[in-house]
Each structure stands twice: as structure tokens, then as C-alpha cells.
Amino acid sequence: MNRLSRTRIIGTSLSLLALWILAALVSINVGSVRIPLLTSLRLVKSRLLGEALDGSPLAVILFSVRLPRIFLASLVGAALAAAGAAFQSLLRNPLADPYVLGVSTGASMGTIVYSIFAASLGFTAGASFLYARPAAAFLGAALTVAAVYAVGGGSMRAGEGSQRLLLAGIVLASFISSINVFLLTSTNQADLRGIFYWLIGDLSRPVDASILVVTIVVLAGFAVLYLFSHSLNLIAMGETSALILGVEVARVKAGVYLVASLMTGAVVSVGGPIAYIGLICPHLARMLFGSDNRILLPAVFVFGAIFTLLADTLARSLFSPTELPVGVITALCGAPLFIYLLHRRGGKV
């Protein structure tokens, strides 16, 4: 019988981690500046041994730009994929992605408002630049999550399904979207460029200490989601069934919603709302590993990291030295992949 065992989960996770390391090695090598693999390994070894670096451009690029970016891309991808898988189970909807409850639109609003008012509010040079924009985005996301919960959260009571929540998310998202468009019409053209790249999803900003906060949120969030994985399995069978089988459905729904939204909000605030990762990776992972969240969640976490890392590597090296935003690559690859998936499954998910 193929019942799930700890061994299988650990084995799968380790294999995927190995794949991720491979992807990271490729990503280190490739880019607008090629860093030969041996050089990078040597540099990493020196750094780990505590030796002083020679300050060569390759060393600076590797440690100050490329490695942080690899980490960022992996973190963002892992969080979005895991949150997407959780939402798909929670809402029992194959089209659910981490943004379906309005998180990305809220974060967008935060960023747009920040862009418009930053100068007049005096956020000039200095530390505030680094933290203010992600903080504004996260605030926007958090407020939207709270609003959606307030409007549609009555359906958190068990047994009522999540339609109200979903509807509240869709309606609020489109309302905030229209506010965003209105705000955009009042910005000057130059600022629009920056906002546009952010909206499409872009990992090229310098990585700073705020990544620590994001990392903690993502890792802690994933741990909580994993605790809920069996409950999510049961909820995916229907809320009444889940109740019958002993799941505190209302509590699980609230917990998963909150945690997944936090994770999403955190990574969206640093990388923008990158499309398709949270939608595609869970489906791909499900095809490979099955729908049992106890193995799906860890698998999709690493899978999402690999997917996004490779997409971002492509984005920054295809037309070097110019860069595409990663959201373009995920959309270009994601859409056909999704269509192929649908076709292959005969329309079933």
C-alpha cells in the first residue's frame, strides 16, 4: 500500500533540495556577467573560511548582488507556491492563487500611495528609502486582508463554505484596483515606470536587512501551514466531512488564511505580485507528488523556489545587460504551461 510515511516525505524533500542547489549553481554562473563555477566555489570557500576577499568585481557581484538575489528569488517563490497550495485546498478551488483574497491589490495600493506621497512626505535619501516602500506595501496588504475578513469573514463559521470569503476578496480586489488606476492617472510619467515594473513583479532591487524579517515570516508561516496540512486534506473533502472527521474547521480556516496571507504579503512587498507561481507550482507539484498536503506542502515549497529561481535567472540574463522583470517570464511560461496541464488532465484538476 502506498500510505504516506515520514521516510517518503523526507526523501522527496531532500531530492528537491538537491535540485534547488543545482539550480542555484546554474544561477550563480549565469547572468550579465558570467562567473565561472570554479571561481564562485573558490570565493565561497574563502568567505566561509573567513579569509579577506580581494575586492575583485566578481567577488563583489557574487556576494553583494547575485547570491542575495538567488536567496530572494527562492524565498519569494517558495512562499508564493506554498501559500497558493494552501489556498487551493482551503477554498477547494483550482484557480485559487495567493492573490485571490486581495493581498496583491492591497500591496499594490500601498506601493502606489507611497510612490505618490513619498517625496512630499520627506522620505528622501537614507535608510527610510529601503524600508518605507516594502513597509507601505505590506501595510496595504494587511489592511486589505483585514477588510476582506471583515466583509466575508462571517463564512469562517464552519460548514458554510468559503464562497462569501472568496466573493469578498474578488469584490474588494477589483474595488481597490480601480482606486489604484485612479491614483495612477495622477502620477507623473516618470514614477509610472517604477510602479509598472513593481506591479509586474521584479526582483532586481538591492536586498537589504529587511529580508531577514521576510525570511522569518516565511519560514514560520510555512511551519504553521505544515501543522495544518492534514486538516487541509480533510477540508478539501468538504467542510462538513472535515467537521465530522474531527477538524476544527473555523479555526483552521482562520489560521491558514491569516498565515498564508501574511507570507504572501511579506514577499509581495519586496518583490511585487509575481504572477503564476502560486497558481502553477501547486498544480505541477500535485501532478508529481499527489494532493496529500503532508507531502505536497514541503514539495511545493522547494518546487516554487526552484521555479522562481530559474525564471529570475532567465529574466536577468536573456537580454543582458538589460533585464526583464521576472513577472514577464513567469507569465510567458506560466500561461502555456497551465493550458498544457488542463489539456493533459482532460479539463480536470
Binding site: 528622501t124 537614507g126 532586481s204 545587460p321 533585464e323
Partner: protein, 309 residues
Amino acid sequence: MARPASYLLTFLHLLICFSCATKPSPVPEISGGTNGGGDTRVYTDGIGRQVTLPKHPLRIVSLAPSVTEVISLVGADERLIGVTTHCDWPESVRTKPKLGDLINPNYELLLTAKPDLVIASTAGNDRTAVLKLADLGLPVFVTAPRSVDKILETVTQIGRITDCAAQGDALASRMKARLDDIERRLAGLAPLRAFFITWFDPLLAPGKETFENDVLRLAGVASISADIDQFYPRYSLEQVLARDPDVIITVNHESAPLPDLSRLAGWQKLRAVREKRIYILNEVFQHPSPRFVDGVEELARKLHPERFQ
């Protein structure tokens, strides 16, 4: 159904208030004649179109700030009856009626104003919008100040079509003279390698055919992004690090000031940042108008103060 209805009413109310709030400014009546003299000439404009214009236009509209600046400098500004919302130099043009902005000229206001000369610029105007104006019957002259030489050409062109040819030519010669002077003063110096930041977030740099790279050359600077074919490509920090420029130059944007590079990962490791060779210039540097010469001079002075005693 009370609630949705009241929301709809409120929305309509707001919509009406909003449209009333944006009143267009009135177009002044200029005394002394309608369309100039019946005497016309055919010119070839900056993008190769043949345009028939009056010899002495009396109702001139400018569709770009750089054009407005030239019109003022050649002395035709009393006949300027309309500018854009972005035109703010010199002081006197701020009171002129605003007939739209760079990308969206206001067709209704423009047609009502009945200009006999509309001057557009490829640096900033939307091509389709401008050609549409021509289709609507307005006399449109398009200038193309895409390089330093073209700017000088534009200055003489505008001088000619506004019937201030002498002032136009004189202005062009003065500009040339100042540029030659700067070139003389910098003679013998090896060009400094610079990374010019057109925009920081996202990181944009000027490519091969841009005006900025042209101007930088005049100030004795070699732009490291000048080898890319695109106009304003997105540049990667890794490339900047690999090419190790001597200095970093940018223009001051009020809405998006340059952050403190010495605190940003990667940037702080650049030699130019560590040596504090970051120069922030007045925005006239990027104007495709005669004022850019001020920008060139400012940059040259900052980079080589010893040559400007």
C-alpha cells in the same frame, strides 16, 4: 434596494463635482489680426514632413517645455498663445494658457484656440497624438532634438519658422561658442568613465543614440552604457560593478531623489561610491533645449574645477 441606489447617487454626485472642478483655462483673444498675413512658406520639419506655415505666425502653440524655452529665447514669446502643463521656464510662460500635457494634447482646446503654428518635439510628445493634430487641419511642425547637433538645428529651425531667424541663428552660435569653449578647456584630458543614472528604480541608463550620452561626451565623459542599442535600457547592477566606472552622475528628480548609495548592498562596494564621486546635476542637463549648455558647464566644472578658474 435603497443601499445600492444611494451609492450610485453619491458616485454620480462625485463625478459631476469632479468634472466641474477641472475647468479649462480661457484662451485669450490677441488683438491685432487673425492668421498672419496670407503669406506662407513651405518648410521641411525635423521628421521630414513638408509643412506650409505662415511667414509671420501670430498664434503659436508649444507642445513641449524645450520648445517653449527656445521660443522665449528667440523672442517670439509674446505670440505664444498656449503651452503645456509642464512648461515652467521662463517665469513669464507660467501665466500662458495650458493646452494639455506632453502625451495628451487637449484637442478641443487646441482647435478652439485656432493657432497658426503648433510646434511639437519628438523628445516627449506622443507621435500619434501629434500626427492626429495635423490630420485635424492644424499646422504642426515637429522638431527632433535627438542629439546636440540636432538641438542646434532645432534652434535655428524654430527661429526661422517664428520669423525670428536672426535671433535663432545668434542663439545657436552662442551655444556653439560656449560648447567650444568648454571643449578647449578640457583639451588633453582623458575622458572620465561614468555611469549615468537616468532613473534609479527601476535602474535605467542611456543607450547609444540618446541625447544624454551626447551631452556627456561634451563634458569630457565616456558613458559606460553607450554601447547598448536601446534608448533607455534597464541596466543591471552587476554590469555596473563589472565595468567599474570612475564617477556616477545623475539628474535631480524631486519626486524620486537618489537614495544614499553608500548604504545599499552592492552599490556601496563601487569604487565611485567609496570615493564619493557621485554628482547630482540640475535637471536642465536633460533638457533638449538651449539650457542644456548650462548643464554641460555645471558638470564640466564639477568634474574638473581646476580648468575653470
